[in-house]
Symmetry: C2
């Protein structure tokens, strides 16, 4: 049950970080948790085929490191979420996503079991791009999976689950989003060909588009 988790144990901040998050799967677990609290099963499907014992080991290790916490929600569902310290891996996750866009896309790659990864790449990017002029809530429907994007008072996030009272609702699918993130298509093409938009609060769609296109520029 208990893995030993090899460590470098070197007097260097970089290797210290890797001692906590450098094991296989660990950064991907943190990635998915940046989309909000998740159950064991959510993580297992999002990580396409991680062995349950490994997921369990990693969650325990992350809890020991103080990066995540486990708690029971109503009805006794166990949920894992980032601690305040764990949230601080956001910029690190963002740089991982950004660098991935620089690497050639491999011939065939599997789709993850859920789309939290999209929410995360987007979420880490809009946090950098948001300004005080952005104030809205949006629902993103991606291949039937719902996420909510919130921008308020200079801070922003994307989380799993629909918004309660969205100003705008954007419907799209996974492949064009990834193509956009990988720089294979342009923003203009993405918005015009692959997106359907519902506006509940007229005027807010301008803020929404503005934040989204600023975010995409963060990946350059």
């Amino acid at each position: 049950m208990k893995q030993k988790t090899r460590s470098y144990n070197l007097l260097c901040p970089i290797s210290r970080t890797l001692d906590h998050v450098g094991d296989r799967w660990t950064l991907l677990i943190l990635r998915d948790l940046h989309a909000g609290p998740a159950r064991f099963k959510d993580l297992q499907t999002g990580l396409t085929g991680i062995a349950s014992n490994l997921l369990s080991d990693r969650l325990n290790a992350l809890e020991s490191s103080g990066l995540i916490q486990k708690y029971e929600s109503e009805f006794g569902v166990s949920l894992y979420s980032l601690t305040e310290l764990g949230e601080e891996t956001g910029p690190l996750i963002f740089e991982l996503a950004r660098f991935g866009g620089r690497m050639p896309r491999p011939a065939k790659s599997r789709r993850p079991g859920n789309l939290r990864t999209v929410a995360v790449s987007l979420g880490t990017a809009i946090k950098r791009a948001v300004g005080p002029e952005h104030d809205f809530e949006a629902t993103l429907m991606i291949d039937g999976e719902a996420f909510r994007m919130t921008a308020r008072k200079g801070s922003a996030e994307v989380r799993a689950g629909a918004a309660e009272a969205p100003d705008v609702v954007m419907t799209t699918s996974y492949d064009p989003i990834m193509a956009l993130a990988d720089g294979e298509i342009e923003q203009s093409q993405f918005f015009s060909e692959h997106v359907a938009l519902d506006v509940n609060t007229p005027g807010k769609e301008a803020e929404f588009f503005d934040l989204l296109s600023r975010s995409m520029r963060e990946f350059d």
Copy 2:
């Protein structure tokens, strides 16, 4: 001789990055190369006890990924260096260093075999802090190991080896630098108690101090 290098192969930029740099030791090798070209032996000592076969495997894999390149210098010395693509891991390395400062320092940790790691943490930070008002070259002597810091026209770097015509020479040692990076002592204390400074070009020490203290603020 040839390791298989497990990969996630998921359609996600984050996991794609990890497919290239996520193996054990790989990010630390890149770290050391951010201090400039290095020989096999330099890397081996900097990584305190990495097995030579692993170092060899990782270097081959990184070369295949296009992140590093191998070339012969004069006198037939083999050198490894970052490619243009590999240089782009800079921000990622910086975030790894920054997050390490947030984690509690473990009770006992070994010193790396050389101090390239210091040059790298510093170097990634000054790249973010430098402005057009900084224009100088400095030599940093850290426990007898020489590095050169260059700031010119809005860009800056730190590399292994002394500067040829330094405007200032700073002499200090490893432990206080790490204490500073880990937030255990203040800048003012660091400069006043643990640093000796030689000024060759009067006036340049102000620019030098300014860039250094701006850099430290990047870690907050």
